[in-house]
Amino acid sequence: MTDTLSVFSDASETAARTTPSASAAPRVARFPRLEDLSPSEAKSSRWRQASPWQRRATRLLVPVLIIAAWQFVSEVGLVSDYVLPAPTAIIAAFQELIVTGELQRAIVTSSARAISGLVIGGTIGLVLGLFAGLWKLGDDVFDGPMQMLRMVPSIALIPLFIVWFGINESAKIALIITATAFPIYLNTYAGVRGVDNKLIEAGIIFGLDHRKLARRIILPTALPSILVGLRYAAGSSLLALVAAEQINARSGIGYILTIANQNQRVDIIMAGIIVYALLGLALAAFMSFVERVSLPWRTDIVLG
C-alpha cells in the first residue's frame, strides 16, 4: 500500500518512513474462514428443479381447487345462494345471457365505449405529450395545466360531466377520455425527455435536422415509455368504463349489472363482474402483443 502511494506522492513516502512500525511489521497472511459455495443437492430446493409442466399444472391446480371448494360450500348449504351462488349457477347465468344475445350486445357496446374513449384520450395525451416533450413552447404552455389536472380523480368528474353532457353516451366517453389522456401524456413526455442527450448529439453530428432527430432517434427511443403509458391508459379506460356505466346505462355490461341488481340476481352480477375481468385480461394480452411487435429490440419487456 505504502509502495503504490509513493509513486504518486512524495509526502506519503516520507510519512510511511517516519512510521516504521507500519511498514516494518512482518506481514503474515491469516488463513481466512472459508464458506462452502460448491453446488450441493441439499441447498437447492426440489421445487426449483421441477419441470415447467409440473409448475404449470400446479398453477392451474390452485384455482381449480378454490372453485371446487366454492361449489362444495354452496352445495352443502354453508353459504346461502343469495350471498354467493355456486359456480354452476354462474355458468347457468352466462348461458341465460348468451342465449338471449344480451351478453354479446353488452360486450360490443361496452368495448366500443372503452376503445373509443381510449383512442380519443390516447391521441390527445400523445399529441400533447409530444408537443410538450419536443418543444419548449409546448412544455411551457401545456405541462403546468396537465400536471395540475392530472391530480383530479377522474371519477370525481362524473357529476360535472352529467351537467355538461347529460346522461347519454357522451358523458361516459368523456369520462374515459379524461382517464386515459393523462397516463399517455405523462409517459410520452417522460419518454421524449428521457432520450439520452448523447444520442441526440450523435444525431446532430451525422447531419440530422430537428424533424429527422424526432423521427429517427427520439420517437423510436421513447416508444417503450409511450407504450407503458398506453398500458396504464388501457387499465384506466376499464376502470372509467365501470364508473361511467353506473350513469343511467341503457346498454352494456353496466346495464346488465343494474338490472340484475334490481332483480336481486347475484348470479348475473357475478357473471357481469367476471366479464369485466375478462375484458381486462383481453386488453392486457393485446398490450403485450403490441409491445412485442413494436419493440422487437427490447429483450426486457416488463409485463403487467
Binding site: 448529439e201 450523435a202 453530428i205 427511443t221 429490440w297
Partner: protein
C-alpha cells in the same frame, strides 16, 4: 489545411478551459491530443465537431466530418445497418452503403442485429463504420477505445490504422494513453491547462513496436511532459 485554429479560447463559468489554441492539421494527418482530464482535450474536439462553439478565435474545419465517441451512442431501436446510415437519405442505396461500411470493420454478419446484442468492441466498430460511411475529411475520435478491454483495444488500433491507410481522412484522436498515441499518430500534441505545451512528430517507423528504442524515448518524453514520474519498481 484540413483544420485551422487560431487563438481559440473557451470559457466555462469564468474558467478559461482553452487559453488560446493555435493548431493546423494538413489533410490526411493523424494527430493525437494527449493530456490529463480537464486540460481541454475534449473541448477542442467538441469545437472541431461543431457541437460546441469557441468564445474567441477562428475555427476552420472541413464540412464532411464525423465523430466516434467514447461510448458507441447507437440508437437501440434501430438495427445495426440503420444506425450506420442514420443521417443518410433513406433510399435503396443506404443499405448498400451500410453493408460495405460494416464489412470494412469486420461486422458483415451483424448487419441486421440489434445494438443491444453486440459486445462493447463490436458496438464501437459499428460506431466506427457509421463515422466512415459519411466519407469524412476529418475524423474525430474521442477516447474511442477507453472503455474496451486491453486485447480488444489492441485489435481496434490495428483496425483504425488500416482504415486510415485506406481512406486517409485527417484524424484527431483524443486519448489518455501515451502508447496508443505513439502507435497510431503522425503527430502528438500535449495539452496542459488549456494550452498546447508540446507538439512532436512521431518518427518511429511502422509497425511501431514498444521495444523500439525511439518508441521508448518518445514515450518517456511524453510522460515527462504529462508530469508522470515513472520510477522503476523498488523491492520491498
Amino acid at each position: 489545411m484540413a483544420v485551422h485554429l487560431t487563438d481559440v479560447r473557451r470559457i466555462f463559468s469564468g474558467r478559461e478551459v482553452l487559453a488560446g489554441i493555435d493548431l493546423s492539421i494538413v489533410p490526411g494527418e493523424f494527430v493525437a491530443l494527449l493530456g490529463h482530464s480537464g486540460t481541454g482535450k475534449t473541448t477542442i474536439l467538441r469545437i472541431l465537431s461543431g457541437l460546441d462553439r469557441a468564445d474567441f478565435g477562428t475555427v476552420r474545419v472541413p464540412a464532411a466530418r464525423s465523430v466516434v465517441f467514447q461510448e458507441p451512442r447507437l440508437v437501440p431501436a434501430k438495427r445495426v445497418w440503420q444506425n450506420v446510415v442514420i443521417g443518410h437519405p433513406q433510399n435503396g442505396q443506404a443499405r448498400e452503403t451500410a453493408i460495405s461500411a460494416l464489412c470494412e470493420v469486420g461486422l458483415g454478419q451483424h448487419v441486421d442485429a440489434w445494438p443491444k446484442t453486440l459486445s462493447g468492441g463490436e458496438a464501437q466498430r459499428v460506431a466506427l463504420a457509421r463515422a466512415l460511411a459519411v466519407e469524412p475529411d476529418l475524423l474525430l475520435l474521442d477516447e474511442p477505445f477507453a472503455s474496451l478491454d486491453a486485447l480488444t483495444r489492441m485489435r481496434m488500433h490495428d483496425l483504425v490504422a488500416q482504415l486510415w491507410e485506406r481512406h486517409h481522412p485527417a484524424v484527431v484522436l483524443v486519448t489518455h494513453d501515451v502508447d496508443e498515441a505513439i502507435v497510431l499518430a503522425d503527430r502528438v500534441i500535449v495539452l496542459n491547462a488549456g494550452r498546447i505545451t508540446l507538439d512532436v512528430r512521431v518518427n518511429v517507423s511502422k509497425p511501431r513496436l514498444r521495444t523500439d528504442a525511439r518508441f521508448a524515448t518518445l514515450r518517456q518524453r511524453l510522460l515527462d511532459e504529462l508530469g508522470v514520474i515513472s520510477h522503476p519498481a523498488r523491492p520491498d
